[in-house]
């Protein structure tokens, strides 16, 4: 599905192939906030940002058309530029959050088919800006990037962050006896994806369905919770992007411990999904266990530390082999892999 076929009705549409790079940049940059950390903003060979404690946290994530998003689905649903921009910002900001840090800047590369409407690109910039503001990434912004042509829409962002003098929260610090806890939502984005990929009209799924679709397209990582967890003494933490079981397995492997999850505690995440799950004939708990892309946090805390209010206990760390169990029973790790079938 090519984007331009969906946009040409007005006859007024302008396409990126009709503008030069400077003209397109002049459309985009006014829509984007500059980071507070900016020492030198866009327009030179590179940007310069402050790194107040002498360290820079850095990560990078890419969204590819037809792999990470679909512009038009068989049921008529359109993913907008705004959605893609929001999602790109959200998943990058979430990576800094998962280290216990605060995002300071983004650089963004857009690869655009020449028949991409300029309005789509502007909408993407608005989505980036809205995610930065809406998710509370205070002081963050876009300090530079790259624009180029390609056959397929690709959005790559790199994000920088600061730890404000703290130690990072790694995946490797979980110890037997620690509490396993979650911040943010679980399974809602997976439910939204299932609804989007189902053939039925989206209206069949009601207002809940709309919320789950929004969680898939415009995830809401709990950005305050990462630094809070660091200050509260979290022993391990990561961003749940490939599914709770798979990501729990990463902490288990990195820490050399078992993680036992409590299905009773997880049921509270499945409850709001039961209606949509029944319509689709699937198990809501599967979305909670294997669904990624809500970008919640999975963390472990020593037993003597009170859980911050952003976190909900969902299990405990066990000695022994690095496996993830459900009520002490083995479970196959499931979740998202970019290349596996």
């Amino acid at each position: 599905m090519s984007i331009d076929a969906t946009e040409s009705a007005s006859g007024q549409e302008r396409y990126v192939g009709e503008l030069n790079e400077g003209e397109l940049l002049a459309r985009i940059f006014p829509l984007l906030p500059l980071p507070d950390a900016t020492l030198l903003g866009p327009g030179d060979d590179a940007a310069i940002i402050t790194a107040p404690d002498g360290r820079t946290v850095i990560s990078m994530d890419t969204l590819v058309e037809d792999h990470d998003f679909r512009l038009l689905r068989p049921n008529g649903h359109r993913t907008t530029g705004y959605d893609v921009g929001w999602n790109s910002a959200a998943q990058n900001l979430s990576d800094i959050n998962a280290m216990g840090g605060t995002a300071t800047s983004l650089v963004v590369s857009l690869t655009l088919p020449p028949r991409t409407p300029v309005a789509w690109v502007e909408d993407c910039a608005r989505g980036l800006a809205a995610a930065i503001e809406g998710l509370g990434a205070i002081g963050c912004g876009v300090v530079g990037g790259d624009l180029g042509a390609g056959a397929q829409l690709v959005v790559t962002a790199a994000v920088t962050g600061t730890l404000d003098g703290r130690a990072p929260v790694l995946r490797s610090g979980a110890r037997a006896g620690h509490t396993v806890a979650v911040a943010g939502t679980l399974g809602r984005a997976a439910a939204g994806l299932a609804i989007l990929e189902d053939g039925r009209p989206l209206t069949d799924f009601g207002p809940d369905g709309e919320q789950f679709i929004a969680a898939q397209l415009r995830p809401q990582p709990p950005l305050a919770a990462g630094p809070v967890a660091a200050l509260a003494g979290a022993s391990a933490m990561l961003d749940i992007s490939d599914g709770l079981l798979r990501d729990a397995g990463r902490i288990a492997t990195a820490s050399g411990v078992g993680l036992d999850l409590d299905p009773g505690a997880l049921q509270q995440y499945a409850d709001p999904l039961e209606g949509a799950a029944a319509l689709l004939g699937v198990d809501a708990l599967d979305w909670v266990l294997a669904g990624g892309e809500d970008h919640g946090l999975l963390a472990t805390f020593p037993p003597d530390r009170p859980l911050p209010p952003e976190f909900t206990a969902v299990g405990s760390v066990k000695p022994g082999r690095p496996l993830v169990t459900l009520a002490s029973r083995a479970t196959a790790l499931r979740g998202w892999d970019h290349f596996a079938d």
Copy 2:
């Protein structure tokens, strides 16, 4: 042209679609150097690098199959993964060089069609590593990135750098009376591209042709020259990536001055290209003036400062309108634009 059609002869080839993300990462990371600035390397949600003077220079560049490189040309020439990896590193490292800085780390996102041979990706990693070492980016390396599937090969790198306490060299500091100077080569990459895109066998162009093709595929930005220029008091500087005239126009615009280039001084760059230009029936000086991708440096220096030995004077800064002239005569700005025809 799909990459797999060129690689399947052995029957032993493995493709990225047959590996999961972890298996592919395990193939790539051992081939890549870790930056000296690494505080936390790959394997967590984000990496952490030092920013010794409390600032981080950052830039990003993307290479797209069939737009920025061609895997197989009509004359049978293959661009290898090694070439693409080298080029990605080189153009990113060059952006830090152009600020007068030293690169500290790269993060790299690879978007790979599932039928990309694993060997191609390994070769790309080797090219990245070889450029870092071969160009003298001492202590730089790859600290993280992203891997995903797409219809087209896309390589995006973000680069960080340090200014070691110095001020950056911007595009805006050129003043009337300053000397305009160049470090590195001019026009060789453009000659290489013209040879690659010509229908004739590459052997028609002899050993010079091979060198020009190498300059196009594996550019050699003069990485030592950026910090040297900063220390020598350069008033403005940028990376010549879109052609001397276009990039000179950027300094002219940012500084509010004219740049007058001396065709006599530029002829020394055209001389080695004359043989290839004659074969192709073009003007070698056009490659020097409008060809990008050698990633040399264009800088201006106050008249009371001796030029560093890495730089060659090619003109002078004039008062008045921000135009680029050749021997005081107007010239149309020409060069590369990603979206313009």
